[in-house]
């Protein structure tokens, strides 16, 4: 049975998405995308230069093979994010948008208020909205109510590679959500991705852990396998964890 990821009206075989902001070259990025078999790749609208296709990321990405998801990175408030999404649509990129509103350049923490405000406007205008958020279960619910097609909570501060630091809050988000939950930002190792998938996340998104690795392509492959393993583990139903060992019972010899 195919275990497909469904977001809005599209289905994807891969549950592993890749961000493109940190790769050293298009060749390495290409190699990583191939190794990962990722189908959804995010691209910052601010990086796209339609006047100079020779240096534009869009010329290396093959739209027949992958789905380009524009993001609003760099937007500091709802208005800038909304206009960036409209610009992406006007460029012919997509009417899907990964909504990012990060007014703090130090930590790039998403602004919940402005994200919700922008999401309401963009949903109204017919966009498929995938908002990047802090691990906030109430905000996730409000965004779902507003009509977003997924929520993308961060596992740990972006670029930190610290893994599932927000596990408790993310578990709440997953339990309550009727839309896909994509864990975005902070996943530092394949085991972090596996853990997110075991917890029931629908997909994960990674950039730094791959692009900053000594061998990005191998790391992309490792993440792919980890995402698959975590997903299978989740689907199979994990055995319950116990606080004490139960290798064998010390009272088996008693007559029951």
């Amino acid at each position: 049975m195919d275990d497909l990821l469904k977001i809005a009206d599209k289905t994807f075989k891969s549950r592993f998405m890749i961000g493109t902001g940190k790769f050293p070259s298009d060749e390495i990025m290409d190699g990583c995308i191939a190794a990962s078999e990722a189908e959804i790749i995010t691209v910052a609208v601010r990086r796209v230069d339609l006047e100079r296709p020779d240096i534009s990321i869009l010329t290396t990405l093959d739209p027949a093979r992958i789905f380009i998801l524009p993001n609003t990175s760099g937007a500091q408030n709802a208005d800038e994010a909304v206009r960036t999404a409209r610009l992406a649509r006007a460029m012919g990129l997509s009417h899907w948008v990964k909504l990012e509103v990060t007014p703090d350049p130090k930590n790039l923490w998403p602004d919940g208020d402005e994200t919700l405000k922008a999401a309401r406007i963009l949903v109204e205008e017919g966009f498929v909205v995938l908002p990047y958020i802090g691990p906030d279960p109430i905000l996730a619910r409000k965004l779902e109510d507003a009509g977003t097609s997924a929520v993308m909570p961060l596992a740990a501060p972006i670029g930190s590679n610290k893994g599932m630091r927000s596990a408790d809050a993310i578990r709440m988000i997953i339990e309550q959500a009727s839309i896909p939950v994509v864990i975005d930002a902070g996943l530092g190792s394949p085991s972090d991705a596996a853990l997110a998938m075991e917890m029931g996340a629908d997909a994960v998104m990674v950039n730094t852990a791959i692009s900053a690795s000594n061998d990005p392509e191998t790391m992309a492959l490792a993440f792919k396998l980890a995402v698959r393993a975590g997903r299978l583990g989740h689907n199979a139903g994990l055995a319950r964890k116990r606080d004490t060992a139960r290798a064998s019972s010390p009272t088996d010899w008693l007559v029951k």
Partner: protein, 375 residues
């Protein structure tokens, strides 16, 4: 509160002691910390830490990759005027210097902008001296408007203004502002700035605050290395950066390290900062500020710049001219530049050198949609 109040509270003795540390054992511990205290930063500027340059380099590289990726933001300067009413004894534009002065007319600015755009840039830095009669707020705002037709990022390196003046420039579309204190040592400052409005130390000290309040998205600070003990000046730049990053939390702070390389006919620096010292300073700033952008201009030599691509730097200029109209309008015999360019390679050569280091020269990193900071 403005920075001059914070400046008055800084304990100069604590800085002198911190940057004089000889405790080499402490460096390893400081480098391994996730967040550094100000005293840790002072230690990294000290002679003791200079023994651990490799360890600092590796940490600086890792932290920079984590926050910025393997990217170098590319920009280019455009000097629109070299006229100046100040008497800064180290500067080529010193009003007492007998140089060929130009303030570009509108058609000349347009020609320069088009010429630069063809080089592939989307981020431009517009510079002037301090001569409001010819290149005042209205003139600079007009330059910004013209530049925004070709470039989505337009930064300024101009004389200090009041908040309203800065706001006019933000409204015209300016995204960034650089203003260097030159030196944070009041006595040295008074000695090297002999006359003109630049003699006002506090007015300049608070300029980044005013610029942030006016809504500039990016603010650059720094000291001109060579005027005063570099360790002391770097310590103050660090304090200034930390203050700005905390107070103006929506504003991106960047730091530059312009250094005087030797004597000119007009001026002999108090000290020459060596390559090793400059590198140590850059590492110390990366480890302490973590997310501050770090800019390295064509004042530095090609080999130095190439070696620093993967060690903490995030922005570089290329193909620069420092004489007004130098790209299209005037030759170097018709208008004089501010300082000697050490890296005179073409934009393409610099971009290729960055790629050889496994980094991506980023020419476009902004959209015309992004405006000033609004609370």
């Amino acid at each position: 509160m403005m920075f001059h109040e914070e400046y008055a509270r800084i304990d100069a003795e604590r800085i002198r002691e911190g940057v004089a540390s000889l405790d080499e054992q402490k460096t390893e511990y400081v480098i391994s910390e996730e967040t550094l205290a100000y005293d840790d930063f002072l230690h990294l500027l000290s002679p003791a830490a200079s023994a651990s340059l490799d360890a600092m380099a590796l940490r600086s590289r890792a932290m920079t990759q984590k926050h910025f990726g393997r990217n170098i933001g590319m920009y280019i300067p455009l000097y629109v005027s070299n006229e100046c009413a100040n008497e800064c004894i180290y500067c080529g534009f010193n009003r007492k210097n007998d140089i060929r002065r130009k303030t570009l007319a509108e058609d000349e600015i347009d020609a320069e902008l088009e010429s630069i755009r063809k080089l592939g840039f989307d981020s431009i830095l517009i510079l002037t001296g301090e001569f409001p009669a010819k290149a005042g707020t209205e003139y600079i705002a007009r330059c910004v408007t013209l530049a925004r037709r070709h470039f989505s990022q337009v930064s300024l390196e101009i004389y200090p203004m009041d908040t309203d003046g800065y706001r006019q420039l933000v409204d015209a579309g300016a995204t960034g502002l650089s203003i260097y204190q030159e030196t944070y040592d009041r006595e040295t400052y008074a000695r090297v700035h002999r006359s003109g409005r630049k003699t006002n130390f506090e007015w300049r000290l608070d300029a980044p605050d005013r610029a942030a309040e006016a809504g500039f998205r990016k603010i650059g600070i720094g000291a001109l290395l060579g005027l005063h003990d570099w360790r002391i000046d770097a310590a103050y730049v660090g304090a200034h950066a930390a203050y700005l990053m905390k107070k103006h939390w929506r504003t991106e702070v960047s730091i530059s390290f312009p250094r005087m390389r030797g004597s000119s006919s007009h001026f002999t620096p108090a000290c020459i900062v060596t390559d090793r010292e400059l590198v140590q300073m850059i590492f110390a700033f990366r480890l302490y500020t973590r997310s501050a952008a770090i800019t390295l201009s064509t004042r530095e030599a090609p080999s130095f710049r190439d070696n620093m691509v993967d060690l903490g730097v995030t922005n570089m200029s290329a193909g620069s001219k420092t004489n007004p109209g130098g790209y299209e309008t005037f030759s170097e015999n018709e208008s004089d530049g501010q300082f000697e360019i050490s890296d005179d390679r073409s934009v393409d050569e610099v971009a290729k050198a960055i790629q050889r280091k496994g980094y991506h020269p980023v020419f476009k990193d902004w959209t015309e949609i992004f405006g000033g900071v609004r609370a």
